[in-house]
Amino acid sequence: MAHAEHAHHITPFRTLLGVFLGLVFLTILTVTTSRLDLGVLDVPVALAIALGKAALVVVFFMALKWDNRVNGVVLALGVLFVSIFLVFTLFDTAFRGDTSNVDEVTIKDAEAELAAPAGDADHGESAPAADH
């Protein structure tokens, strides 16, 4: 096993300084955007800046750029699966209140029940979650 294969990469000072300045700039950007009202873009913009900062740290400060490619694949897999978790959970939380399609479904028995005087007025609204 060649020793050189595992030798630690020395990152040039200029690169480190450039990354540091980049991080300072992104921090200023974070503070600035936090004072602006970007509406629905508030969180995505903040997350995008944070992601950029994290990427700079991982790629240059943690030397992933010069490391074995497998480590990059492992990191990418981790990010991919966290993204899957967040995106698929958002399919739920972002549309949680969207039950309009339920109201549009006509079920004869349910209609008859609703028409009855003793019917539970809230029933139709909470039907999808009735089991819990």
Partner: protein
């Protein structure tokens, strides 16, 4: 050149991993993957017995409507503990920790796993998890079911904290084992053992390890959040504190659905080995079977929401999860078709391991297909939380994983112990397990489709006959499992010495090691020149049928 000659090797008088040091200390502090596999085996068998007895008690309580032996609160604890023990301490670790540890390094021609100390540490971390489960049982009443759903679970006291901590810690063991196996498979394969020559059991262990490493941290995080909510009063899942209980289900199932594949993928690997050896044919569609494990591992991450169709999650979410759920059927179907195809025109030998493999094929196919049914949104609304789900789950987990594990134990038993077992007893045990299992759980499909809710202490009179039948089936199943246990114990006590390769296998553990193996596995570095199912490489042209060949091996 050490190309295998498959000559049975006498082991009497030889140093093996079992006899080279017999002190208790040498077992408890061993770094040998084979001994660590046996430590897991002994622990998991004890937990399996305890959880099995709890299942029997649950079934006895359900023998007739109303109170039969225990009150409702105790009944709730019985089924919760049964589920927690079986899932987290038996089925999740079982195949990777026992057979993965013992067989995988032999399969790839390695002297041990990549990190032997980490391997031993994994076992003791697993034991700490087990001890915490016992503490939780002693401290109080766990009646949350194995899913620990909030808000109920976050309102319970110390027992749930201990139990969730136990799951958290047992999860670390799982992650470390997975990491160890990934590195071992990447770095320690024998010369010539390319990815295309890996035994399918190794492929399945590899896919499982990836899921273990990627998914298990999430259950750790979930349990940690549950602990924080309980101890610090931070509202995360409990709506009374501003939390979202459905979020807990997302967290929980993001781990627990892939965990179903942690449980079943290694079983697929065992079945592939058994089908090849006992059909005396190359496993049909080797690459498809191997890559379908990886496809299942990946798709398994995208379907967790199908557990939550009626939880109140959004309709959009349910539709997406339902569609992706259907996709899982494709790689799974690829496997089943290839296993059946492997037997086609093969020289099928109905030894005990093969009988378990055939049982698996039958039971798992039912379990898998009913899973597709449950993935259909409209159908699931009716069947959710009924005995149909209980039956489906048990057909996959018990009929799949446990049946495959027992088949695998029979198959590798001569290698592990150096002893042969009584074939007749083995077959009787398998028959009883098959009949008992179907009597117990097929009945539950009918019960569920008729509307019997799961986890209920009492039930309407109209379900009484089917519940009674299910309970009788559980007794037959228990007898079958005890016959299997007796067969193994009898083999240990009085079994004839096993030859190195009693089944005529073509993979390295059969062709290059003694039974049982030496402490360092191989006398010399194996060099692989053929695939793991290339039986013709060894046995072509001798004109013997497999039965005659196996008989001659036993005599030898």
């Amino acid at each position: 050149m050490s190309v295998a000659t498959a000559t049975p090797q006498a082991t009497s008088g030889k140093t093996t991993y079992l006899n080279h040091d017999k002190s208790i200390r040498s077992w408890l502090l061993t770094l040998d993957h084979k001994r660590i596999g046996l430590l897991y085996l002994s622990t998991i068998v004890v937990v399996f017995l305890a959880a099995g007895i709890l299942a029997l008690l649950v079934r006895i309580e359900l023998l007739a409507p109303g109170r039969t032996i225990v009150d409702a609160q105790t009944y709730n604890q019985f089924f919760s503990l049964h589920g927690i023990l079986m899932v987290f301490l038996v089925i999740v670790p079982s195949v990777p920790a026992i057979l993965g540890n013992f067989i995988m390094p032999l399969h790839i021609g390695a002297i041990d796993v990549a990190f032997p100390r980490l391997n031993l540490a994994s076992y003791y971390i697993f034991m700490v998890g087990g001890v915490l489960v016992v503490i939780a049982m002693v401290v109080g009443q766990i009646d949350t079911g194995w899913t620990f759903y909030t808000p109920y679970s976050s309102r319970l006291g110390a027992p749930v904290i201990f139990m969730t901590l136990a799951v958290f810690i047992a999860g670390f063991s799982s992650i470390l084992t997975g990491m160890n196996f990934i590195v071992t498979i990447h770095k320690m394969r024998a010369p010539g053992l390319t990815w295309n020559r890996l035994p399918l059991f190794v492929w399945s262990i590899y896919a499982t390890s990836i899921v273990q490493v990627l998914a298990t941290p999430v259950i750790g995080i979930t349990m940690l959040l549950l602990l924080l909510e309980k101890t610090l009063g931070i509202g995360i899942f409990d709506p009374a504190m501003g939390g979202d209980p459905i979020l807990f289900q997302h967290f929980f199932w993001f781990y627990s659905h892939p965990a179903v594949y942690i449980m079943i993928l290694p079983a697929f690997g065992i079945i592939s080995e058994l089908m090849g050896v006992f059909s005396r044919q190359e496993v049909m569609g080797y690459k498809f079977v191997a890559l379908s494990s990886v496809a299942i591992a990946f798709l398994g991450f995208l379907v967790w929401g199908h557990h939550m169709f009626v939880s109140g999650q959004s309709t959009v979410s349910s539709v997406v999860f339902s569609l992706i759920t259907y996709l899982i059927g494709i790689p799974t179907g690829v496997k089943v078709i290839n296993w059946v195809g492997t037997m086609y025109k093969g020289s099928v030998s109905l030894k005990t391991p093969m009988l378990y493999a055939l049982s698996f094929l039958f039971l798992f196919t039912i379990g898998g297909l009913t899973g597709v049914m449950l993935g259909v949104l409209g159908v699931d609304v009716h069947l959710h939380d009924t005995y149909f789900v209980v039956a489906h789950f048990h057909y996959v987990m018990m009929g799949g994983t446990i049946v495959a594990l027992i088949g695998g134990l029979y198959y590798w038993w001569p290698k592990i112990t150096g002893k042969l077992y009584n074939e007749t007893l083995g077959r009787i045990g398998c028959l009883l397990v098959f009949v008992g299992f179907n009597t117990t759980f097929f009945t539950q499909f009918v019960l569920g489709s008729q509307g019997m809710p799961r986890r209920y202490y009492d039930y309407a009179e109209k379900y009484a006959d089917l519940h009674a039948l299910s309970t009788y089936g559980s007794w037959i199943l228990a007898v079958g499992l005890f016959v299997a246990l007796y067969t193994f114990i009898q083999s240990l006590m009085r079994g004839a010495p096993a030859p190195a390769n009693p089944w005529g296998g073509a993979s390295l553990e059969w062709t290059h090691t003694t039974s049982p193996p030496s402490p360092h596995n191989f006398e010399e570095q194996p060099i692989v020149t053929h695939g793991p199912y290339d039986y013709h490489h060894f046995y072509a042209g001798d004109g013997q049928s497999v039965e005659a060949e196996l008989a001659s091996r036993s005599e030898a």
